[in-house]
Symmetry: D2
Subunit: 365 residues, 4 copies
């Protein structure tokens, strides 16, 4: 296999998620980072590129899209790792330039942008991949497979939570500031982590979220965006669910848990035991499924008992992206533009329900 | 200390909770069971009494209340362990006869009965105790104490769930049948276990549930009562919460979990690790508090590391009841008639919200 | 069933294990405590008996044995809960008086006494029961059953540990003092908890400990008895094992863990998750067996998910003792005089190996 | 930072640990793999090199050492990932050629070779690094720091186990075959995983293993090398310990656990919860330390709650190796030739004790 040349928009010095994308792209040896518009500040862009030994440094992503598309050795794919409000513009530019886009979530700030991007992607030969990291965890993929195979029987419930505490007090700093600014982030916890939780429920159950009854809340005084959301969900096929996303709950560093419950069995997964999937058939003893266990059908870099983690999950998204680019189409399960649209629909429906005394509100275009 | 003479209504052969009440009453040596109307069936009543070596056997609780009140050596207290619809009548009869009542939950089937019973109790010299078992667990009492002391700071959230799977399929038998019959049980999961969950949130937080947005659901075909409920809660002091109670979720035998989250710290308790309380101050490492730990201020029969469980928790409710009877008043934290009323208010508000498109609905008399 | 009349030797005010025996005897309603030589101090004996509402109080156990044997309504069984050096005398006296003995462990201080007591028991019509509490835990009984049924295949290893920290520093007080006095306790950690661990390995594996290579150690300055022991074991049928018992290991309150490993499967049990047995067949996913699970064949007071603990395990030993007394013989698995002898053999062989540069030393009479 | 050019000996198609070394070398972007003697089979060497896009492929490591040393752009370091009996030769050749060596464990097959290699390394300008992976786990480094700082007080015990089940039955295949062949592997479980366990005890405690009493055992019929070892240890400063390594224990995929116990506190770490360190001060509640916690002083790629695992630990060894190569000396804690010697001493002393009826046997040169 040849390495796919990669560019990056955002991710300059001091950025968190950019460095994660770079490790993820590098881990399986499928991508080589050769170009970047790492910062809109020219000095920081240049310094960041030098530190990372990136050959072609830009300060403007629009120019980068044009220039790379024009080069015979231009990048084949670009990673967009900017704040939420700077996803749409670069994604549009690179898709229109025929360069594959690997974009952080949420896809855009508004549903209108999301729908527009979906149209742009439909017209482009380039692919759009959304880095819902958790879709890269082997045991969540296994959970999805078990559900799809019917091991759980008819589904009943999906209970999901994504809980953090790093914004439990007023926080400032590069990571916190843009997330708390409605202009850059759009929303707060719901966009930052609620969309991960919603995606996860959909990813494993294979069902859409059809209606929500939601309460958005802001606990920290002075904060403008939401920092805690409670949601009841009606999903496809009569499935009921609850979703909790919070960034203000002491004692939770990055705690994501999903239970999907069917008539015949339940799958239960927690981020802090990411290598295990608790699988219980009704009337049988709970089983601890792992990558090393007999039924596992996914892929892995190291044997069971040698824990893989967050970076490996992220790298699996990148490895799938590489496969997608080689194949010209997204493989089953890899999040793309439709998942981005679903994420924005979820956000908008929660906002609407919250504004309407908690009533059940349908997700719609 | 002298033993308190005890009677029992319900709890004949084949009953589950009656046997539990008897062990709980006996475990600390505070009660002696001497009388019973164990069954309305005379033969079963007599056989049950003989098996249990109970001196005075009745077939009618009304007669038992009259007869025991009239005897100089009549029972001082009675345990009511009948199906839900048979709580109100006996409770009324014994309270009016001046005999202390220890009653299983939910207190009654309707809020009207609950309010009436509260008035009866207010006029009686006898006490009314409601066996919300979980209020007997040492680490939940410790959690309540930590909250009351301010160790969590201003509270933010209460997340509670009580999840079982024993009704995941159509079930018949003595335990299941009355619970599935609206005439005997009133409601399904919400009364049977939802009230425990709601009580627990109130017990530890010390705050009332003020409003709910709820979805009641029945998953098992042919079942008339609810078997799964999802609730969003607004509690006192601006606290937000979620409550999930289910009897149809494979992989959950009797899983009760409560998290109460404050600005400064969180307490996290699960029934399957009942001897531990996870306590995390913001910015500090999580601590595993136990009965054997340095800060523990509760009471225990055996040292930390020698696990106490469900029967001990139940016995602690009975020990508190014995203390209450000796003192003539309920000690702080022991559930009584007001908790019974709150439980029914919770049920009625959930039903109302569910019927009204999930809107926020206030709990009221 | 009629209640069995019970006496108690030791267990006066301030004693720990006496109170535990009393709860255990009472919990299932099989015994009634009517006589006691609770203390050799007359005032304390009388005060303790009054507090416990015990009808017949003695200050001398020898006199108690004589007097009770002579009464037509004399006790049928006696619980011996004195320090180790006061087990032999009372056990002998009551057995010779034809009164069943329920005795705390270790059975005696020396192997000579143990062997003598075995002879006395053989000649007596009365039964001798040794309260190895852990043999009362449902999931350990389940483990024993699985091994006996061959579910593990040919056994390979037994790894057991019993670790505490309450003697990590020089400690004084009623509980600590006699345990640290070689005259009263004989040995330190090895007798107090090492014998529990050794019994557990034998109980579940069904195999004798044949040879040991041991290191006895005392970490706390000024202590005369051992407080930490490391043992390698050769058991019957070629099984290898390790045993660790410590009372000086911070972070361990009463942590007992046993793994029995066979060619085909492993059982793994920890005291702090006493209601679970981790059972893993080679090549299959680990299963969490519980009392509520489908294969469970033991007995229980409450359904799975309602945790039973230490007192219930202790009560199950008493319930078995009651069955034994009614039947005239010990049921399978209930520890008796032979287990007491095995415990002393284990202690003596460890002492001998330790004194002989760690060499493998056989357990012998 | 510039990338360090790297070669590899071993690790051709079908090899497990070679692929792990390559990911580890690549993950942090510190190394670039440019040369290899991936297999002694010319076709497989060439095919492997092509698949990995390695520029310079050799079939003979001796030639590779000469040729690379002669090139101006020759590799600066080499990773040796061959079976145990092929560590010594290449290590000697590359060290003598002035090329840094990163070698898998155990360092050699015999103590004689280990001592000779130590002399060779002492004379060379090149560094020797031994990939004891577990020294790369952040929470084990934290444990080591806590011990070194005195947070545990005077140490008492080290209990360590490394348990697998993949050789529980007779196994064949590339990975199993050479490990079961005494000519290639030297010993069985003791060399393959026992040395990891022994290193870990030394790494965290900071103390040497001075004496052992050991039992080596082979459970699987027909196997020539040991597959289970039980060891009692006397370490420096009066510390006592136990070590268990097994490859034949069903229910254990790759379970490594270490407890280091001091007068004041205990650290407890398990591989299957690698991101947590349980730290308990005597008389205080157990704390769960993590990378995200307040006291953490190590380095990490992603915040706490985003699990790092085995590959990240391995990559940290490589990152330290890169630092060492830039600095010209090994940083504190990075395993080198002395750890290799200690590993062989441990093996030889265990063999000697086992042959001498389990007697305490000193580790010596």
């Amino acid at each position: 296999m040849t390495e796919i040349t990669l560019g990056m928009v955002g991710g300059g010095q001091g950025a968190f998620i950019g460095a994660v994308h770079r490790i993820a792209a590098r881990l399986d040896g499928r991508f080589r980072l050769v170009a970047g518009a790492l910062s809109s500040d020219p000095d920081r862009a240049a310094a960041s590129a030098a530190e990372l030994r990136i050959e072609r440094s830009y300060t403007d992503w629009a120019e980068m899209a044009r220039a790379e598309a024009a080069r015979p050795d231009g990048i084949r794919a670009v990673a967009i790792v900017t704040p939420n409000n700077l996803h749409f513009g670069p994604a549009k530019a690179f898709l229109e330039a025929g360069i594959h886009v690997i974009c952080d979530k949420p896809m855009t700030v508004t549903l209108e942008e999301a729908l527009e991007l979906r149209e742009i992607a439909a017209k482009s030969d380039a692919l759009f991949i959304l880095t819902h990291t958790y879709a890269g965890y082997p045991m969540l993929r296994e959970a999805r497979r078990l559900v799809a195979e019917g091991a759980l029987g008819k589904l009943r419930m999906a209970q999901v939570e994504y809980v953090q505490d790093w914004l439990a007090e007023p926080v400032s700093g590069k990571q916190a500031d843009w997330r708390a600014d409605p202009k850059q982030a759009g929303t707060g916890a719901i966009g930052d982590i609620g969309t991960h939780a919603a995606h996860l429920a959909r990813f494993v159950s294979g069902l859409p979220i059809e209606q929500v009854a939601a309460e958005m809340h802001t606990f920290v005084e002075g904060r403008v965006v939401d920092d805690n959301i409670h949601v009841m969900m009606r999903m496809g096929a009569g499935v009921r669910g609850m979703l909790w996303a919070s960034q203000v709950a002491p004692g939770h560093d990055n705690d994501l848990r999903l239970r999907v419950i069917g008539e015949k069995a339940t799958v239960d997964w927690c981020h802090d035991r990411a290598e295990e999937l608790r699988f219980t058939r009704l009337g049988e003893a709970p089983q601890i499924l792992t990558r090393g266990g007999p039924g596992f059908q996914g892929q892995a870099r190291v044997p069971g008992g040698h824990p893989e983690g967050y970076l490996e999950a992220f790298a699996s998204i990148y490895a799938d992206a590489a496969d997608a680019i080689e194949a010209g189409a997204l493989p089953e399960g890899l999040p793309g533009v439709e998942e981005g649209v679903q994420g924005l629909r979820f956000i908008e429906a929660c906002l609407a329900s919250d504004a309407d005394d908690g009533r059940w509100t349908a997700l719609k275009d």
